[in-house]
Subunit: 121 residues, 2 copies
Amino acid sequence: MAEVETNMHEDLRRAFALLSGKWKLEIMWLLYERVYRFGELRKAIPGITQHMLTAQLRELEADGLVVRTVFAEVPPRVEYEITPKARALGPTMEALIAWWNEYGKSVPAKPGGRGRKATSR
Amino acid sequence: MAEVETNMHEDLRRAFALLSGKWKLEIMWLLYERVYRFGELRKAIPGITQHMLTAQLRELEADGLVVRTVFAEVPPRVEYEITPKARALGPTMEALIAWWNEYGKSVPAKPGGRGRKATSR
DNA sequence: CGGAATCCATAGTGATACTG
DNA sequence: CAGTATCACTATGGATTCCG
């Protein structure tokens, strides 16, 4: 059969790239619950700048993870919401959190020094 | 009540950080199958430099995702293998790949221009 | 209100040469 | 063989100012 030897690590990298960015996960985490306006996101994410918020949202939008809706009002209003595509990632993200809680915090594999020694064979 | 409001996105970010690095996923993907020597990894990963391979392996080691074993031979031999911690990530990574294959390649949510328009309310 | 434009600091990545 | 050291480049993140 095909047995494409699927460059799975390629897919993995590309999928990973979509989520890479200091604030993307936090943004998506908020949007997971409800729709947010630009200013709301800014207030909800302490430490982020407009520059970064704009940039990250633009990337998320380009990747089809969030939808940006502009209301022709004055003053202007812009709302952001996540797409089904992003929502489908929920379980996987939770699995990653579960992994972290189980393995990430203990860090048992840390014997004496760096690198194990082995006496030849 | 505890109800820690679990900074899940914090855990998520830290877990994510462990895997961030241009070559880490590819390295782990290889080590998933068997033990590799330094030179083998270099040949198996086209485009990587010794510098980067060393750096990424060191980080993976520090994070407890791979184990480095030095054999006191001449010429020197160093082997790398993944830890149970890293191996436990397998299913999650596969879930991410599955997500990518289902949602990542279509990218349907791309109507006319950037940002949807909405006529006031 | 929700940006864009500009300038700047840092970290990650990469090529090359040298070493135990 | 398996690194380390050095330098250069690029991407990312951030502060500030200005605009429709």
